[in-house]
Amino acid sequence: MKTGAKILVEGLQREGVDTIFGYPGGVILPVYDELYDSPIRHILVRHEQAAAHAADGYARASGRVGVCMATSGPGACNLVTGIATAYMDSVPMVALTGQVPTSLLGNDAFQEADITGITLPITKHSYLVKRTVDVDRVVQEAFFIARTGRPGPVLVDLPKDVTAGQIEEVPPLPEKVHLRGYQPTLKGHTRQIDKAIELIEKAERPVIYAGGGIITSEASGEMVQLAERLLCPVTTTLMGLGSIPCDHPLNLGMLGMHGTVYANYAVTESDLLIALGVRFDDRVTGKLPTFAPHAQIIHVDIDPAEIGKNKKVDVPIVGDVRSVLQVMLNRLKKRDDRKQWLTRIRAWMRKHPLSYKSDGCLRPQYVIQELSNLLKGEGIIVSEVGQNQMWTAQWYCFRKPRSWLSSGGLGTMGYGFPAAIGAHFARPDETVVDIAGDGSFQMNIQELGTVAANNIPVKVVILNNMFLGMVRQWQELFYDHRYSYTELPPVDFVGIAKAYGIDGIRVEQCEEVPSALRTMIETDGPFLLDVRIEREENVFPMVPAGAAINEMIGGHVVPERELELAAAEEGDVTFRPGRKAA
C-alpha cells in the first residue's frame, strides 16, 4: 500500500528534484509528513510568494524545473504572483498546492480557494488531481510540460484525501510522455530556413535581436558564432543579457526603452532583423510601426503564437532556436564585407555612450560598475524591478548565460531577493548578488529570516534612494515633478539585517564603495549593503512609452571635438561597447 503523498514524493525524486521551496499548512500535511524522511531538501520560506520566486530563481539559474509548494487557500493564493512571473518569462516550474478533500470541493470549506481556476491564465497547464491513482502520471506529465517546448509553470492541486489516500498498486508509467494535444515543433521548416538564408546573404545592414529564448535553449554559442560568421552586430533584450559577452566587439547591449542609443539606432536603420527567441514586447519595440521600419524580419521562436503577434514578419521559423541556428551555421559562409555598417555603428557608439556623472556623488551606476569589476562579470546577479534593474542591465558586464535573473515580463517587485535564494541552491558555488531598491527589497524583506536560518550566502546591495525610484522618475518627467506617494522614509536596513543575525554595512560616500563591496563578497555568509545613492538619479537614455525607439531622451552626447580626438586614436572596424563615466 502506498499513500498519494509517498507516490508524489517518489515521483519528484524520479524527476530529479533535489530542492523544494515551500510553506506547510493543514491540507498539505500528508506531503510534509512524507518529506520528513525524504532525501529532498525543503527550504522553509517566510511567505509563499518567496517560495514561488525561489523556485523560479532555481530554474533560471540551472535550467532545471523549480518546485514550490504551499497549502490550500491563502497559501496557494500567495503563490500567484510568483507563478505569473514565471509564466511571463517562460520559466519551467511546478507548483504543488494542497486542496481541501474532494468531498468538500466547491463547498467554500475552510481555506478553500479554486486555485486551478485562479491560475488558469498564468499557467502553461494545471491539474486538479481527484484520485490517488492519478498522482504518479500527473507528476510525470507536469514536469514534462513545464520543461519542454516553451517552458512555463504547471500547477498541481492535491486534495488532502488524494495525498492521504492509499492504493494497492501504482499503475506503470509510460517511458515517454505522450500528450496528443501537445507536441512542440523543435525542428525548423527547411524551406523557411532556405528563405532566411537567402535574406541573410543579401542583407547589408543586419542586426541580431536576441532574447530569453537563446538562454532557454542554450543557444548562446551558436548565436555568437552566427554573429561572428556574418560580422553582424547583436542587441539583446533584458532577458537575453548574458547570451553574448558584454565586451564582445559585436555586442550593442540592450535595446528598447532603456537600451543603448546605438542599439536602437542600429535596429532602426537595419535592413534585416534576425529575431531569435524574442517576442517583440512593447518595452522593446516602442511604437510598433516605427520599429525596424526598413528591415525585413526573420523570426525564430518555439512558440508559433509569438510569431506575427505584434509585428508582421517576413520569414517565420517555428522551432527550437538552437537547432535552427545549427542548421543555418552549416550553410552560411563567412562574411568580411561589413565595414560600412560597422563603422556607422561605431560612430554612434562613440557619440552616444552610456554614461553617468562622475562628480563624487554616490551614483548607482558606479556601484554596479565596481561590483562588475570586482566579480569580473562572474557570479549570478539577480535584480528587483525598477531603476535598480535597468541600471544593472546597463552597467553590469554579463559574460555568461544564466548569470542574470530578473523579472522581465511581469516586472515583479520583490522578485530578486527570494530568486537569489533559489539561485544559490541551484548553483551553490557561485556568488549570488541581489541588486535591489529600497522599495522592492521591502516587498520580500521577511526572507532575511530564511537566509539567516539556513545561512544562505546571498548578498544584497540596496541602491537606497528613499524613493520608488522608477515611478518617481516618470513623475519627474511626465507628471511635472508631482511625487505622488513615491517617497519612502529612511529605513535602517543594516539594523534590520543585524536583528536577523546578518551582517551589513551602510555606505554613504563614494570612496567607501570598493571596500564595502569587497567586504561583502569576502564574507562567507549572507551580507547586506545599504548604499545611500544620489536620490534623484534617473535611468537614461529613455524612450517615452509609445514613442519610436530612436526618439530617446536624456542620452549623453559626446561633443564633436572629443569624438575627433578619439577617432584619431582608433582605426579598425572592431568596436567596444561605449560605457563611460563622463
Partner: protein, 167 residues
Amino acid sequence: MKAHTLSVLVENRAGVLTRVSGLFARRGFNIESLAVGTSELPGMSRMTIVVIGDDAQVEQVMKQLNKLIDVIKVSDITESEIVDRELALIKVNAEPGSSRSEVMQIASIFRAQIVDVGAKTVVLQVAGDPGKIDALEKLLRQFGVKELIRTGKITMLRGAKTVQPTK
C-alpha cells in the same frame, strides 16, 4: 472583420470548456457562438466556435487555442464546403382562433416541428443553418416570442474530408 468558423477537437475532460472560453475572454476575442459535445473518437469532444475578427486576430485565436494542452486540433473551416446546422426552440404566442393557424402555417413552411402545444402558446423546434433560424424568428416576432433558445451552430465538412487529430 468577419465570422470565422472553427472546428476544434478537444480532450473530453473537466475544465476544458473553461480553458477555451477563458482564453477568449482574457485575450479579448469575441465568440459569436460555441457548441460542444462528444465525438466519434474516444475521450474527445468536438467544438464548433464562431469567432468574429480579422484574419490576423483569428490566426492568433487559433495559435493560442493550439497552445492549450487539452486542445488536440484546430481547423478554420470558414472557406471550406461545409454543412452547418443549428437547433432552436421557440415558444411563441398562438391562441386558438386568432394566430395559431398562421403560426402553424409558417412552421410548416420552415419545416419546423411543433413539439408542445399549450393553451396560449406553442413551442416550435427548428433545425437549419443559422440564417434560416434568424428568418423564422423574425417572422414569428409579430405574434410575440415568449422564449427562444439556440444551440449555436455545429459544422461539418462536406464529402469524405474530416477534422481529425494530426498532432
